[in-house]
């Protein structure tokens, strides 16, 4: 393998791994803050115990998100130095602002919250967890501003082979970010909600601390149902925007080789990228045109036509992304997203009929469903990132041209193996700890809260 392939694998592994913890942090920070708010308002010991319980799990996850995040910031310069030189003017800004605005806030106030029980006023203590939650979403917005620029570059001029900033507001309010950020952040809320639901279900299933975990189960159900619906609507906006600005990605998501007017939506297909065809297809007529354009007649361009257009624009080359992965990634993401909506609404109907705490089968499924958002999140990012290949900056810089020229394949391989081993070990340890604490249940109200 050449260094470019290894660098891509490394980025894929380290980013996907990091993104196991990010959505959980997004969701659990808000949920912990909500539990804490209930405690603040009611003074009830039950909410205090729940806050401490989920807070403890949140801290473990947060810590892993932080350490795996530093790797990413360094990786741009280490493995992708040519990319960094090309985009630094623009891409560096949101990265720096993210650290200055969000990371300082997050890291300072999570410590204030963790160590601050009984040390600062109750109002200030509550404020500190809300600041952590706000900072988490803020950091997501800034990094998505950076990513959006790679997807749909705006507000730049090319000068001496580098992209230079010409319009900061355009970069800040990139339409791509405006459709991407809500979808991504709310999906994080759903992830956190299903996590809380699953853990609550574990205790309800065993009849353990029922009065406590019944509360957290209900809060998380509402959270997931509302979040699930919003993830779907924002995802729809996002996909329409993709069709407009990255038509090749949309065509790959649909396995659409030839332009159709009106276009059908694919339910199943075996993709043969080499021969540019697909077999065993099941397609629903009109649906893709309806989804992409909100009408019954507009065309959706297929990959063959788009490839020709790209060759005309950028010269000869292969402008197709890895289609099967993008096609199936999209289906897995959407399918799971639908499942989460149905699952949470069904849970609410059980609650309505007073059967939530005792419906063993539902509680059992909840313990399984809590793991699925991680698959959905990764699938979503795989669609977004692999779907825009071969570009690292869409239409401006090829991924192959972004890699560090002075770092050998051997070095890249060494660090990739190193990160993978450490991350594997971390996953095992973190999984074990989360399991251990989740199983233990909520601590006593006045249990010590010293962190280390």
């Amino acid at each position: 393998m050449e260094s470019i392939d290894i660098a891509r694998w490394q980025f894929g592994i380290t980013t996907t791994y990091h993104y196991l913890f990010v959505p959980l942090t997004l969701g659990l920070s808000v949920l912990t803050a909500i539990l804490h708010s209930f405690y603040y308002k009611t003074g009830s010991s039950e909410y205090k115990r729940l806050t401490k319980f989920f807070g403890k799990l949140f801290i473990i996850i947060f810590a892993l998100g932080v350490v795996t995040g530093i790797v990413l910031e360094f990786q741009f310069g280490m493995a992708w130095s040519e990319y960094s030189r090309f985009v630094g003017d623009i891409f560096g800004i949101p990265l720096a602002i993210e650290a200055l605005l969000a990371f300082f806030l997050e890291s300072t106030f999570i410590a204030v919250w963790l160590f601050g029980w009984d040390r600062i006023s109750k109002g200030l203590h509550l404020l500190s967890i809300w600041l952590v939650a706000i900072a988490s979403s803020l950091s997501a917005i800034w990094i998505l501003i950076a990513n959006s620029w790679m997807q749909v570059p705006v507000g730049y001029v090319l000068n001496e082979g580098r992209a230079e900033l010409s319009d900061f507001v355009a970069v800040l309010l990139n339409e791509q970010m405006l459709v991407m950020a809500p979808h991504t952040i709310i999906a994080g809320f759903v992830t956190g909600g299903l996590f809380m639901l699953g853990i609550s279900a574990w205790h309800l299933y065993r009849g353990h601390q029922v009065e406590l975990f019944g509360k957290s189960a209900r809060i998380s159900l509402i959270f997931v149902a509302v979040g699930g619906l919003l993830t779907a609507t924002t995802g729809h906006d996002h996909a329409q925007h993709t069709g407009e600005h990255q038509p090749m990605k949309l065509a790959a998501m649909e396995g659409l080789w030839d332009t159709e007017e009106p276009a059908s939506f694919s339910l199943f297909a075996i993709i043969d990228q080499e021969n540019r065809t697909a077999t065993r297809e099941i397609r629903l007529p009109y649906l893709l045109t309806i989804l992409a354009h909100n009408d019954l007649t507009s065309p959706v361009r297929g990959m063959n036509e788009l490839q020709e257009m790209k060759e005309e624009q950028f010269g000869p080359g292969d402008y197709l992304p890895p289609i099967a992965i993008v096609y199936w990634g999209f289906r897995i993401m959407v399918g799971l997203g639908m499942l989460f909506i149905v699952f949470s609404i069904y849970g609410i109907t059980l609650w309505w009929r007073g059967k939530l705490d005792t419906s063993k089968r539902y509680l059992k499924y909840a313990m399984i469903v809590m793991f699925l958002p991680f698959i959905a999140n990764s699938a979503g990012w795989i669609v977004a990132e692999m779907g825009r290949q071969p570009w690292i900056v869409y239409g401006l810089l090829l991924t192959a041209d972004g890699v560090s020229p002075n770092v050998s394949g051997g070095k890249m391989l060494l660090t990739t193996i190193g990160f993978t081993l450490i991350y594997g070990l971390l996953a095992a340890v973190a999984g074990f700890l989360i399991y251990r604490f989740a199983k233990k249940g909520a601590p006593e109200e006045d249990a010590p809260t010293h962190a280390y």
Binding site: V67, E73, S84, R85, G92, A99, F104, T108, L165, L426
Partner: protein, 337 residues
């Protein structure tokens, strides 16, 4: 206005903040196994930096991001050039954070011993690597015409750079001992004070050797000349003052003095470099400077406004968090397992 100069200073400030703050928590991590008699002592030691170490690390993340935005070539050359050392740094920082966060989660001996190893090596190695990296920069690196580092790892690990690593470890450890003396009580406090007393002379010798050899080894003194200027003199005075304060048992002042030595010493490095950011040993034409490594002016302007608004706010609430957690930790404060 010279925005390149402003951003050079801002990045220097971010690194200074990083070394000043993370410096003592590296020191505490290095000292933890040696000043603790039992697990309670170790937990106290870790808890002295518990509320701070993570936010201290954000200074590095911000410095990295700011460098990426303001001087993309500096960022790209530095990070791809120091590929393996930075990989080791990342591994160390990951294990260190894991050590802190997970240590108290299980009472088993083997678990805590493993965490202690992570904390110790995860503090020692980054301190050392920063010393090595900074020394390399002021020594100059083999940077070619396309702004890329073209040397080998062996050149990075030259004797003078290793001495620089040692100097950073010594200074941070002393700084950490003094921090511990401000947040502990009883026997533990006496032990860390003793460490500070014993450590000062060897640390001073290493730092002196590093500074004196710097006349021959680095580009810093080409501009400064033989007689040290104001900043180097103030650095020396601060460090010597820390000795006096330690002897007088004025540990708060001593901590301030080692802090000042870190701030001023780092300032010497950055001011000595300017306008270079990464000198090339191959050809002076290949030097990376604040002008040929920087972003466009609009980027620097936008970033200046952002920094001007938010850096003071960050300093405000971070300072406040130090105030909230300023009392000493006693053995009674640590819950039993």
């Amino acid at each position: 206005m010279d925005f390149q100069l402003i951003w050079f200073i801002l990045i220097a400030i971010l690194f200074i903040g990083y070394f000043l703050l993370e410096g003592f928590d590296f020191g505490v991590g290095i000292l933890m196994p040696f000043v603790s008699k039992d697990d309670v002592d170790r937990r106290i030691t870790i808890n002295t930096i518990g509320p701070f170490w993570d936010a201290n690390e954000v200074w590095l993340i911000t410095a990295g991001g700011a460098m990426f935005a303001a001087f993309p070539h500096w960022y790209a050359t530095l990070f791809s050039g120091f590929y393996i050392p930075l990989f080791l740094l990342l591994v160390a920082l990951i294990l260190r954070a894991v050590g802190f966060e997970f240590r108290s989660k299980m009472p088993d001996k083997w678990w805590r011993k493993t965490a202690d190893l992570f904390i110790f090596w995860g503090s020692l190695l980054p301190a050392f690597l920063w010393g090595v990296a900074l020394t390399n920069i002021v020594q100059g690196l083999p940077i070619g015409p396309d702004k890329n580092f073209v040397g080998h790892l062996g050149a990075v690990l030259n004797p003078y750079a290793l001495l620089g690593g040692l100097a950073a470890v010594a200074l941070f450890t002393l700084h950490g001992a003094l921090f511990l003396s401000l947040r502990t009580t009883g026997d533990l406090k006496e032990r860390v004070e003793k460490v500070a007393r014993l450590l000062w002379i060897p640390a001073g010798l290493i730092l002196a050797a590093f500074a004196i050899l710097g006349y021959w080894q680095t580009v810093l003194f080409e501009g400064l000349g033989l007689i040290p200027g104001t900043l180097p003199t103030l650095t020396i005075i601060s460090f010597v003052a820390s000795y006096v304060f330690i002897q007088l048992r004025w540990h708060g002042y001593a901590f301030g003095a080692t802090g000042a030595a870190i701030v001023l010493g780092t300032a010497v490095v950055f001011s000595g470099l300017f306008p270079l950011v990464m000198p090339s040993t191959i050809d002076a034409a290949y030097h990376l400077t604040v002008y040929n490594a920087s972003s466009s002016e609009l980027t620097l302007k936008v970033m200046s406004v952002v920094a001007l608004i938010f850096l003071p706010i960050v300093l405000g609430y971070q300072g406040w968090s130090y105030y909230v957690f300023s009392q000493r930790l006693t053995r009674e404060a640590i819950p039993r397992d």
